[in-house]
Amino acid sequence: MSFTIAKSGEVTLVEVEGQLIVGNRQELKQRVLDELDHGERHFLIDFARTGYIDSSGLGVLVSLSKKIRELGGELRLANLNDDLRTLFELTKLDTLFQIADTRERALESF
């Protein structure tokens, strides 16, 4: 699993490659918190190259979303495959996050 962080205008774009699970979720959390500390407020996580996310990965997304909102920002998600979308629907996290079908649509919506 690896993360790539890039900028697209005012949006910090995070790509997750591989699995987001208990063994690596803290790394993602810390990378996003570091960006928050640097003043970034708009985040998009792109899951186009993500295999699956476990409950601790989902938990980190929830906690990051809350933290970002508290600081006046926003976290959006894009490119969930059918399995990941099922996971979000089962846990009703699809009601908590704005989820776009593509990265472009997500970026347009900020």
């Binding site: 699993m1 699970i21 476990d54 409950s55 938990g59 929830v62 009703k92």
Partner: protein, 137 residues
């Protein structure tokens, strides 16, 4: 259960990805359907392993977690055994979709295991065993 794979896993969450990949490969040999093979099995097994490592064997020093996969009748059976004191499955499962829980960071693991497998059971004896059963077509 006819055991197709049994492996001892060091008490380290960094091992989970490797173990899940190995079990999924075994399940492919057992003709588990693709959707279950690539979604239900890895997600549910990852949760069971996390719980065993973080809450079970973690309290027991260098204890190992044992994973077994096999068939019983027309079902896939996955067992994750740890050396911890065990837990009450019903009491520990809460509804993470409830409004008061949805923004909690924790509490989705057992819920997902029970939604993605047909049966989840826990039993004691020597150590603590979580058994997950997926009925095959």
């Amino acid at each position: 259960m006819r055991v197709a794979l049994e492996m001892a896993v060091p008490n380290d969450v960094a091992q989970i990805e490797r173990v899940v990949a190995r079990v999924v490969a075994t399940c492919a040999d057992l003709h588990v359907p693709q959707r279950q093979l690539h979604f239900n099995v890895p997600v549910a097994l990852t949760e069971a392993l996390s719980n065993a490592i973080l809450y079970g064997s973690a309290q027991q020093g260098d204890a190992l977690v044992t994973v077994r996969a096999g068939l019983a009748d027309r079902s896939l059976v996955l067992e994750v055994a740890d050396e911890g004191p065990g837990f009450d499955l019903e009491a520990c499962t809460r509804d993470p979709t409830a409004p008061e829980n949805i923004e909690r960071e924790d509490g989705r693991g057992l819920f997902l295991m029970r939604r993605l497998m047909d049966r989840v059971e826990r039993y004691g004896g020597h150590g603590n065993v979580v058994r997950m059963v997926l009925e095959l077509p």
